[in-house]
Symmetry: C2
Subunit: 399 residues, 2 copies
């Protein structure tokens, strides 16, 4: 009987599964691959040989184990040879990195984003970073594609990504007249796929793959850039929503009598926990930005009473919103990213106390509160994950 | 090269895909199956023959089409022959139904649940319904399993389902001393799998498969029984959370200065939109329950000013919470189930107005607000879907 997937398709799936495994877990013995992938030894051997011939993995004998018998060969991703470019377009900063298979940062560049620099003018700067880095790429390397993490929300129907007009970081200087991926792609050295995500989603993907959320299927990564939003993973997959807009937790109204929000509503979560709220509460309402917010955290740690009161207030609202999300999602882990990391660390007891009083018993027992393990690299590493995705889906076709 | 899935496994997958298609879509021509499943004609023919031999589908010539050429045979699920039992354990009512493949209700029974009847004493009543219905089952029928929809939240790790102690409908009379599925299974005529879900999840599954959410991947089904909770589908799959507790939207705090909630918090969504809030706002705080709540809706439609004010107030809070969920999930459709259906219909303009002022522009444009298409049958039909799941996963093994 003939049926849908052919032997060839199955082989591709298995090649992808093996490559994905070493991409996420790093160097792995053939014996472990056999067990973890549920394939027999000869299949693992054949798949590894194919991937090695394509230059995607290498095999070598492990270090002396001291055990008797022939040691199982170790398969590792060719991190130095197979790479993606990753970009992070932030409110006040532009970053690019060359990231090898396995999530290894091989090279990086960074500059401030001048205030008011239009989105369209960020792209040549990023392309310039890539030109520099590309000159240092060893011969025989394989560039598989690019991933971009962008501050603010994006529209993602059918992969054609336009930047949303009302996203502050972009509106401030005019819009792109074509999808970001296409506009950037035209400036890059080689024609390869360019994938775009918002920074919260990219960071969630990275922490899920190889960071603080590793091993959890249900993850909320809280991110602060233009506003507060979240990269959310449910059942192991990114929550995108019907049109790619899911995760706007910053506009969950937590305080109906609260301050006006830029979205037109009142008491949105980001008006209570954002940098402006923190600075305002600390009596520093004339300051702006990440550095100013971090100075409040620092002042609190040195005993400044105003700063401490501000941290308590923001910590309470932080815990309040997290409790709502814990009741709604029953996540395994909530990660506090960006400046929320520092606020959370300074106010962890307040956050936990609000969670205890507002979240239902079992979900609150099941959730872990964490800070990012990949730190500021999360968005870049996550952007690279997007670029590796088509390679992992079909390794021999995409290489 | 040997690889993971064998031809036999692929065949099973395809059998499942075909059976699932006709289960969801009803009678389907072979031509449409060929296109929709992406398999060739001879494969469809062979798969259909296997399923027909197992008594799961039948084939017949379609009615005269008027077109030239040999008409494509029509494949339909054997709804009268292959069935599940479905149960709905509610605060004040017990229901059971015999539901055929394809979601057809073949028979049903119902009784009030006496106030205070312990959970453990509901099960013999349900088993009694099944005994009655089972006597009328035609010879040669196949009972594939049972699905139970339960009011309140359940714990679902590894399929071993215990009823949560703090769930009002259950606590009121003592707990089960074994998993519900096991306790019920022992009372049923034949040993078959018994799957358990909460009513919100079951209703969401049913409306997604064959109701108001058909064709949407991102669905929120708001349900009222013990409290307010939601069956949530994201990316086409049920949101369960890390421990099976996701969907407790009733305990999202919307009004920090609001009324105390049974959970120990204040201003939870269910304190603002629940039946008690509606009755209270209408000056009928001494009444309780579904019927009393529906009388408020009815009074409002007949011009009762107090009732109208209550509907407006609850409608505002209903829209408020829906706006939060729309920002967080970007759903394609939100469905108002149970008595929320009637409140929503009476206050649709208020709900929509709050949504317009509180939700972000694009997600609010993308969401449809709907009432259940399956009405009160949603929980039963959804429970049956759970029971059919293992048949659809491996049709010839499970039949």
């Amino acid at each position: 009987m003939r049926a849908g997937p052919s032997q060839e398709e199955i082989r591709r799936q298995n090649l992808g599964a093996l490559l994905r495994y070493v991409h996420i877990h790093g160097a792995t013995s053939r014996a472990e691959l056999t067990t973890s992938l549920g394939l027999n030894r000869s299949t693992i051997g054949a798949l590894t040989a194919d991937l090695a011939a394509a230059g995607l993995v290498s095999e070598r004998a492990p270090r002396e184990t001291g055990r008797a018998g022939r040691p199982s060969l170790v398969v590792r991703p060719e991190s130095g040879r197979v790479f993606a470019y990753a970009y992070s377009i932030e409110v006040d900063r532009l970053r690019a990195a060359r990231i090898g298979l396995g999530g290894v940062v091989l090279d990086r560049r960074q500059s401030d984003r001048p205030p008011g620099l239009p989105a369209v003018d960020c792209l040549p700067l990023l392309a310039g970073f890539v030109k520099e880095m590309h000159q240092a790429v060893p011969a025989g390397s394989v560039y598989v594609g690019s991933g971009v993490a962008v501050c603010g929300r994006l529209r993602r129907p059918d992969g054609a990504v336009h930047v949303r007009p009302d996203s502050a970081g972009w509106a401030r200087g005019g819009e792109l007249d074509k999808p970001l991926a296409e506009a950037l792609g035209e400036l890059l050295p080689q024609e390869r796929p360019v994938l775009v995500s918002n920074a919260a989603d990219a960071s969630a993907v990275a922490e899920h793959a190889r960071g603080a959320a590793s091993g959890y299927d249900d993850v909320i990564y809280l991110h602060r850039d233009v506003g507060i939003d979240a990269g959310i993973i449910v059942g192991g997959r990114r929550l995108t929503g019907q049109g790619g807009y899911a995760g706007e937790v910053g506009h969950m109204v937590v305080n109906p009598g609260g301050n006006p929000c830029g979205c037109g509503s009142y008491g949105c979560w980001e008006t209570e926990i954002g940098e402006y709220a923190l600075l305002q509460a600390a009596g520093r309402g004339d300051a702006v930005g990440r550095e100013a917010a971090l100075r409040v955290v620092d002042a609190a740690s040195r005993g400044d009473a105003n700063a401490q009161a501000a941290i308590r207030q923001v910590g309470d609202w932080l815990g309040f919103g997290v409790a709502n999300l814990v009741n709604i999602f029953n996540p395994g882990v909530v990660i506090f990213g960006g400046t929320l990391r520092d606020v959370y660390l300074a106010a962890a007891a307040r956050v936990r106390s609000r969670l205890n009083s507002l979240a239902l018993p079992t979900p609150r027992e099941q959730v872990r509160l964490r800070t990012p393990q990949l730190g500021e690299d999360a968005a870049l590493v996550g952007a690279a994950e997007l670029a590796f995705e088509h390679l992992l889906a079909d390794p021999l076709d995409a290489g």
